[in-house]
Amino acid sequence: MKSVENEKNHIIPYKTFLYVLAVLIVLTLTSVTLTQISLGALTVTIALIIAAIKSSFVLRIFMHLKFENKMFSRAVIGVIMLLCAVITVTLLDYLNR
């Protein structure tokens, strides 16, 4: 039986995933430690920036976006921008009432 392959497949080494896991756990613990110290308004910003960095690792390495057809990355960026736009508009509305 012959199968029709329409893309070359990239094999990610096991080690890469373990390194990414280590980075993700360190980032999680950093986030927990930093938010336990009271930093006021900065806390939200720091926690969300760390969450965004963690997401980019998950998206690029675990979800293979780095090695995949560029179409997927562009679509993901598009969805994230749409969400950010909706959040910004909603908050602008509430902050200026």
Partner: protein, 202 residues
């Protein structure tokens, strides 16, 4: 007479379909995050105090459990690509066990709140004021919806594992394993944002 069997398969289309579905999931949770931001903005003190009642310890453990489970399912794709069926199945097994561990933790966490009469519709919670009702309403709804996704993901992974056992998924054809991985990573991704918003920002 010789016939060549050709299976018609389009891995790119399969993955595109999965991603399109994941986009709807992102928008679903994105909408809930907007609701959370607005309610938090309108009830800052109640959200601040209510969030302090959640256990940062259990939350952190659950975050690490999900991160490890994401790693194991990602590694199972490498295993199947290298034609190592046993390792792929073992890694999927670990992923399922970690997913179940997450749910068990969630069960105890929710149990504690319910014991203290904190749950949507509770009259004792209602006495604590509007902000607390909103916070716990969102907490139970969003973590509950996330837990539902974990359950669906676990079923998905178990179906994929049986396909690997029956050699329907192999080193030549593993796009379904990749799609189940994508779903599982999305569940992880949502938790990456749920965790700081509910547990850390107090």
């Amino acid at each position: 007479m010789s016939t060549i069997l050709v299976t018609h398969r389009d891995d790119l289309a399969s993955k595109t379909g999965m991603w399109l579905f994941l986009f709807t999931e992102m928008l679903l949770f994105g909408g809930l995050f907007i609701v959370y931001s607005v309610y938090r903005y309108r009830n800052p003190v109640a959200f601040h105090l209510a969030a302090q009642e959640l256990s940062v310890f259990i939350g952190t453990i659950n975050t690490i459990i999900l991160l490890i489970s994401s790693t194991t399912i990602a590694m199972s794709i490498t295993a199947i690509q290298k034609n190592n069926k046993k390792l792929a199945l073992l890694l999927l097994g670990i992923t399922v066990i970690l997913g179940l561990a997450f749910l068990v933790n969630k069960y105890f966490e929710w149990g504690e709140h319910i014991k203290e009469h904190i749950y949507p519709g509770s009259s004792i919670l209602a006495l604590r004021g509007h902000g607390d009702v909103l916070f716990y309403g969102l907490y139970f709804f969003m973590t509950g919806l996330h837990a539902l996704h974990i359950i669906i993901g676990l079923v998905f992974i178990l179906v994929i594992a049986t396909s690997i056992l029956r050699d329907k998924i192999n080193s030549e054809n593993y796009v379904l394993l990749e799609n189940s991985g994508l779903y599982w990573h999305l569940v992880d991704l949502i938790w990456i944002f749920l965790f700081p918003l509910f547990y850390l920002i107090t």
